[in-house]
Amino acid sequence: MKTFIISGLLVLISIVGAWAGDETPTVLSNKEAISLVQTHADYVWTLVAAALVFFMQAGFAMVEAGFTRAKNAINIMMKNLMDFSMGSLAYWAIGFGLMFGVSKSGWFGTSGFFLSDFSPGGDPWVLAFWMFQVVFAATAATIVSGAMAERTKFSGYLIYSVFISALIYPIFGSWAWGSLYKGSGWLENLGFIDFAGSTVVHSVGGWAALAGAIVLGPRLGKYAKDGKIKPILGHNMPMAALGVFILWLGWFGFNPGSTTSANKDIAMIFVNTNLAAAAGAVLAMFTSWIKFGKPEVGMSLNGGLAGLVAITSPCASVTPTSAIIIGAAAGVIVVLSVLFFDKIRVDDPVGAISVHGVCGAWGTLAAGIFNIGGTSAKIIGVQLLGIGACFVWTFVGAFILFKLIDLTVGLRVSAEEELEGLDFVEHGGSAYPDFEISHASGIGAMGGQGLLKAETASEKMFRKPVEQI
């Protein structure tokens, strides 16, 4: 027993000895240890933030499904799943290299395709950084889904989602953000401020959405011949609201995570993000209340998102008071913008063009106006240049892309298929089978057999079983 205790004590002493370190710590070794802890914290924060931004995909899916009809809910889920999944692969292969590779011209990167900057055993920072960037690319891609909802051919949408993640988004991104890694962009070299992507992510998504909605045309029955707007009701407002809450949460990764380092800056970015969203929701509610006589839920939800989009660019470079002003203005702008696009008959079922395109442009301009370090005509001029460059590049690029898709595989489903609902004709399923008495129940939210001609889309499907990808 005695020997056992003694040997135990000896082991303990030797452990303590080893724990104290073989070498005495020096100032230098302490410094290295501290910086290692900081590096690890940077990894953790960047990847936690990436996870939060990834969750925004769920938010987009819920918002879009809630604001559209039940007969297209599966299609919305498939588009959101696939623009993230196909987009991830496209961004891995091509997009990341174009955006963050070495760029001599300042227009696009030319290295780092297929994540070739990572070698096993080497520095894994490129992996953490890629993960954070790919969820941003997917956000830009998925914005478009909502504006094109309920009438887009699924195969055409898949082609689009590869091109935006591989080309349209990364090339603009390289102009503004290339130097965050190995690149260098002409726009950032002029001093363009877009901390987390009001322009780089949201306006790119919004302007591509505008191009898509224009090329597609409005949903059947949305605009009457006499000029009246006939609203097509979304099937689940609580679902849309849940989506907005999820997006709001995700934004706490989107903006503060864009530091890609664990530091004290994230506190103000967090607060700014929240205040702008709150001000956006409140002001959109009051705007709808004044304009329509009731505090309307759809506009209020869009208002929260509008505030978030607007503060994305200036979140690190404005005071919390400015953040409130920026968000509040976005809340008013988004309501007026939704009404404007309806008036010119651009059918955007979820308001994506107004929320992401228009309020993204406003936020980018606001980053110049409310800049914490002071503003000048030059700063504002560069912001305007960035906003304009984004619109021209994205809108024109996406417009050509959608036109080409339309001329080749087709971008829009037939009128019969649209009436029937995309869930059945494109995916052979039904989102809520237990809530339907039968599938042949006429028009309305749950679809039903096509009414325009004798052979319905379902019959066509059974005759020619697999038409999909």
Binding site: K230, P231, S288, F292, E296, G298, M299, D342
Partner: protein, 112 residues
Amino acid sequence: MKKIEAIIKPFKLDDVKDALNKIGVNGMTINEVKGFGRQRGHKEIYRGAEYQIDFVPKVKIDVVVDSSLADQVVEAISRSANTGKIGDGKIFVLPVDEAVRIRTGETGESAI
């Protein structure tokens, strides 16, 4: 035998059911239906655009009773479903030729 069809405001269903139970009606069938009468519909707003709801949600109750009970049933429904406001609904009384209890094969009044 008589069949009483009553179209009422949905939130009045429990009151009507209790009133019918009290006078000895032990079974009924209900449907969620939509329609309009003098009440017409109402206006709602969606994303800034106003639209007309023509068909308002209602509940339709079907009760089949002995002919002698029909007046009481009508009275009970009109009393319990009444709010005094437009849109309270309607009651129709129809003759029933035959009733069959599927399980036992009983027919006529003993089947209801």
